[in-house]
């Protein structure tokens, strides 16, 4: 099977390790991964901040970049939700028929990584090895918009050596929220600090998530607090094996 990886702009520039882990994981599962270089950003920051029209060229670009692939896989819940939830809206409200074409064509082909693994490949045990205590933050987009349910935790539970500890208040937002993090920094950080406190209470060494935007915010607070806990993307855990452990 051949799929297109939508790495996302955040992973491309700031968290290449997540995108690399996604490639290694998928290849290990026998999937051939392409990275269409025309891809950039899905337009989420613009759209959510109120710049719908500025999003339109990016929607068209996404359409062009991923033309011809049956499956587009992304290790980011919020970017998958941007395409699935908001592209149809952008198409409805815009006047360009190409937006509708992109939306109709891309929406059914867009998969968040754990959906692709569990629903399309039909695997929960991906042959990973990660001998640490882990707690999982589900992220709002994964939880409420995509409805990922227990897919991520099923994958984590199947990892050899991994001990999954439930995160108190898991369904609460971490406070990132895109430009919310800088437009309302006090509330954003207060939410993040509560999330970090809950995560610390689990005693886990790793706080895992499936969206690096949230992890950038949570990780930024952890780092500032000199916490021994590390924020890590799910793909990077699933990519680890006994032969190739986490570096």
């Amino acid at each position: 099977m051949r799929v297109a990886l939508f790495a996302t702009c955040v992973n491309d520039a700031l968290y290449p390790s997540t995108a690399i882990a996604t490639v290694k994981l998928l290849e290990r599962l026998g999937v051939q991964v392409d990275f269409p270089a025309a891809q950039t950003c899905c337009g989420q920051p613009q759209y959510n901040t109120g710049y719908r029209r500025q999003t339109e060229p990016l929607v068209r670009r996404m359409g062009r970049a991923f033309e011809g692939y049956d499956h587009v896989v992304t290790p980011s819940g919020s970017c998958a939700a941007m395409v699935r939830d908001h592209y149809p809206r952008i198409a409805r409200r815009g006047s360009d028929p190409r937006l509708t074409a992109v939306s109709e064509s891309l929406v059914p082909r867009m998969y968040e990584l754990t959906e692709f693994l569990v629903d399309v490949l039909g695997v929960t045990d991906v042959g990973a090895y990660f001998p640490y205590k882990v707690t999982y933050h589900p992220s709002c987009h994964g939880l409420r918009m995509l409805g990922l349910g227990d897919r991520p935790t099923r994958l984590l539970r199947a990892v050899k050596g991994l001990e999954l500890i439930e995160l108190p208040g898991a369904d609460e937002c971490c406070g990132f929220g895109g430009t919310f993090a800088v437009k309302n920094p006090d509330v954003s950080v207060a939410m993040g600090e509560d999330k970090v406190r809950n995560a610390a209470s689990t005693g886990a060494g790793v706080l895992c998530g499936a969206d690096n935007s949230c992890l950038m915010h949570i990780g930024g607070i952890l780092h500032r607090q000199d916490s021994p806990q590390r924020a890590l993307h799910l793909a990077e855990i699933l990519a680890c094996t006994e032969e190739e452990p986490l570096t």
Partner: protein
């Protein structure tokens, strides 16, 4: 809307104060988390919740789409049942109508049932200016009124106060307005409720005029519905000779049968009860039972502007249950006052800027007072997609002056993202200079880096790594 909130600072500034107030944070956290769990349990009891929610949404949506017809039908039914209907285009007109109706009775005081509409129009202040005393009779409203405070929650306006603070307010203030708090009043909720009972009873028994809102108005029958807990509503709705109800035009539902949906969803969403202790339904006047005169004031006050917005219109479906406030992580930390409106929380963030317009500083900031986490939409019993409306309102605000720099930045980012080669060059430059990046950002970036570190910039972007891999694979393949 009420002048009380004029000149409010923008949400982020107001929230900064509350975020760093540990008592306030603890009070709101305790209250919202208590009700959150209970609501989930009350909703889980009904296996057809999704269907009730869909029916509620569609009843309201259909009514809004034919609002003129249903209001005229309501007016006819109320009039036929012995009531008088008044129409108020804005807050001033509504206040004027109510003031004149009270004056015509010759009375100088009224008792009030908790009502969002009368708070919205600042009726108490208007009556006071006309020499008429308005006594709030809902316990939380009483706490707010005695404490000369502002409401901070739709259902429980004094949610920001804990029992100890309430006791102090009762001890200090009750005597000034009537029967003083009993000696040795403790902070036991039962004792506080008893103090309110004693304080208000004399007012109920002598009241000749009452002012209420309405939870629902049934167009086909002319029936008004008030849902409550304490019995203060029943007191106001049945003891006085004159009853004046002020209700937003969006409170109408077409048929009697529609109540079967909302009487199931509202109590469970709001106080997490199977049914609230008291619900009163009345149709005009009944000889020998209840008020002899009944006036209904139908209030626009910005609702028709909201109705005109095809995306924002759904905010008018709101039945004021406050479930969205109770699950909102932003409300929990910022508190209700930061929203600068009688409508705080997620619903307030979409309702206030629509009713008042987005020109003021506070109203322009409200659409951004959300991380778009979607918890509000999940619990809404009429399925208002609050995140969708927030983003839609951001679009309006972004068009206003004052967003020039942001607009330019967003435009530039979008342009760069539309040119991958420019983007790649930028990424390479950033990687090359990464050891020079400051850990704390200047200017607007400080909002990020004051309490959060930035991730370390990687040595190469994924894009570069992937290209290198491809090349390696090709070379291995040709070798």
């Amino acid at each position: 809307m009420s002048g009380t909130f004029l000149g409010m600072p923008a949400f982020p500034e107001a929230a900064r104060t509350s975020v760093h107030n540990p008592t306030l944070r603890a009070n709101i956290r305790h209250a919202t988390h208590t009700i959150r769990t209970k609501r989930a349990a009350a909703v889980a009891e009904l296996d057809d919740w999704a269907e009730l929610r869909e029916a509620g949404k569609q009843i309201k949506e259909h009514t809004l789409r034919h609002l003129d017809r249903y209001l005229v039908q309501l007016e006819e039914a109320v009039t036929a049942a012995g009531g008088t209907v008044h129409w108020a285009a804005d807050a001033d007109e509504a206040n004027r109508i109510v003031t004149e109706l009270v004056r015509a009775t010759g009375e100088s005081e009224v008792v009030k049932v908790k009502s969002m509409a009368t708070q919205e129009i600042g009726l108490n202040e208007a009556l006071e200016a006309a020499g008429i005393a308005a006594y709030e009779t809902d316990l939380a409203e009483l706490i707010v009124q005695l404490g000369e405070d502002r409401p901070s929650h739709i259902l429980v306006p004094a949610i920001h106060r804990n029992r100890g603070e309430i006791r102090d307010i009762f001890r200090r203030e009750m005597g000034r307005w009537g029967r003083a708090a009993p000696d040795g009043l403790s902070d036991e909720p039962a004792q506080l409720a008893e103090a309110a009972r004693l304080h208000l009873r004399e007012k109920f028994l002598r009241a000749k005029v009452a002012v209420s809102g309405a939870n629902f108005m049934v167009a086909e029958t002319g029936t008004l519905v008030v849902v409550e807990s304490e019995g203060n509503g029943r007191m106001c709705l049945t003891l006085p000779e004159t009853l004046i109800s002020v209700a937003g035009i969006e409170k109408v539902v077409p048929t009697w049968r529609d109540l079967e949906v909302f009487l199931q969803t509202l109590p469970r969403s709001s106080t997490a009860e199977r049914m609230n202790p008291y619900t009163s339904m009345w149709t005009g006047t009944t000889p020998g039972d209840g008020p002899r005169n009944f006036h209904l004031v139908l209030l626009d006050n910005g609702r028709t502007d909201t109705l005109a917005d095809e995306v924002g219109r759904q905010a008018l479906r709101c039945i004021r249950c406050s479930a969205c406030l109770n699950v909102c992580p932003v409300y929990e930390r910022a508190g209700g006052h930061a929203y600068g409106s009688v409508y705080p929380g997620p619903i307030g963030a979409i309702l206030s800027p629509q009713l008042r317009g987005t020109q003021s500083e506070i109203d322009a900031s409200l659409p951004y007072a959300s991380s778009l986490c979607g918890a509000c939409y999940d619990v809404c019993p009429v399925a208002i997609d609050i995140p969708e409306v927030l983003v839609h309102l951001r679009e309006q605000v972004a068009e206003q002056p004052g967003h020039r720099l942001e607009r330019a930045a967003m435009g530039a980012a979008a342009k760069a993202f539309d040119h991958p080669s420019v983007l790649a060059a930028g990424q390479r430059l950033a990687s090359l200079t990464r050891r020079l990046h400051p850990s704390k950002l200047p200017g607007p970036g400080r909002a990020w880096s004051e309490s959060r570190d930035l991730p370390a910039f990687p040595a190469e972007s994924f894009r570069t790594w992937f290209k290198r891999q491809e090349r390696r694979k090709r070379e291995e393949g040709t070798r």
